[in-house]
Symmetry: C2
Subunit: 206 residues, 2 copies
DNA sequence: TTGATTGGGAAACGATCATTTCCTATAAGG
DNA sequence: CCTTATAGGAAATGATCGTTTCCCAATCAA
């Protein structure tokens, strides 16, 4: 229907070109999988939300699990991109950690908060049944934890975080706060509630 | 087969008595629903784990959702009971909060941690689709948050928690830490890791 | 233009799902 | 003893699930 855009996954080989934007489809799949979970999402839910027929969907992503994995990867990439932007706007280690907390507070209130985090949803829905998903969830959390540890160390180097703290433990503790915000955000919280949590968590750096 | 025990739900009316212990069946259902999620659990999974046929299961719990709700309530009651015991062993407000943190650290490592929390699983799996489940999840979290707020206030009264802290915000922050521990515990953590998180969280009371 | 290759899409497929039936067994009340 | 009421359990039921098939359209290489 619409003229084809650039295809990142296949650089114009033979055959009919894809008519839909893969990333846009994955963006919509993020919303569906996030609020319904993997097992709670039917192919019909996806075809309706993505505006695709089952045939096209299977041609592009092999099967439901393949679509989920691609959706998961896109979600992690998008979140990392947004977080990087928030981090670049802060200078000191403490300010960067505050930026992370604020980023999660922003994501954990209102309708977006209710929709929830796809990593959290994957951890509880698939991590015990699917080894590949479990590895990606653990990897995403490890990246997050490692990033926090680096920021704590940065803050200790620039004097904005207490030097006696164990960076690894503090990072793990902050990770719990972040994931906990995402979890309780599913019950519908106000922006001010979550902002206060983010503020209070800074005490962990003293 | 076995002689009937005491039936709490029905005090010996007419008809054939139930042959299985309802609470024992629910205890097994907790494990199944916790690690597979609601949508990921099939009736056949439950009949196998509980040692019941589908007919008996439907006679006792109406349908899958009814069994889930009963399982959820039993889980919350069991957790509250365990937590109460841990709380009674501590005297000061700070000691009681430490007991809560240790209780969650104990639940969030190893195989039990991997199995996960049924409240967390319900929050991400059903809270957006089922209003009754959403209300129970929100209620369970509210009870937890209120209990933490009372303990913070208790600690401020007995001088073991910093008096200038906002009890409500600190309680919400602690709730995030607890739920976050449950979440990252799904990726398989060691007891020492989670114990360190519990220790570090006490800094929030200074 | 022709052949090879891929995507779009409706319909069909077998499998599995939650649930119900139907029958037998076991109790209480009269 | 007879009626009523509930539980146990195997089998059947209809719906829905994920997936495939089949046919046509669109593009590239020659």
């Amino acid at each position: 229907m619409t003229p084809p855009a650039s295809l990142p996954s296949r650089q114009r080989g033979p055959g009919r070109p894809r008519e839909f934007d893969t990333d846009l489809a994955l963006d919509r799949a993020i919303a569906v999988f996030s609020e319904r979970g993997y097992h709670g999402t039917a192919i019909s839910d996806l075809t309706q939300a993505l505006g695709l027929t089952a045939g096209s969907l299977y041609k592009a992503f092999t099967d439901k699990r393949g679509l989920f994995l691609a959706t998961f990867d896109r979600y992690v990439a998008l979140r990392a991109e947004g977080l990087r932007a928030a981090l670049d706007a802060a200078s000191t280690g403490r300010a960067k950690i505050r930026a992370v907390l604020d980023f999660y507070a922003d994501s954990s209130h209102g309708p977006d908060g209710r929709r929830g985090c796809l990593v959290v949803a994957s951890a509880v829905d698939l991590a015990t049944a699917d080894a590949a998903v479990a590895a990606r969830v653990a990897g995403a959390l490890d990246v997050n934890e490692g990033r926090l540890a680096a920021l704590v160390a940065l803050g200790q180097a620039d004097g904005t975080v207490a030097p006696h703290l164990d960076a690894a433990v503090t990072a793990r503790l902050l990770l719990c706060v972040l994931q906990g915000m995402r979890l309780i955000g599913k019950t519908g919280r106000h922006a001010t509630e979550m902002a206060a949590v983010a503020d209070g968590a800074l005490k962990l750096l003293d």
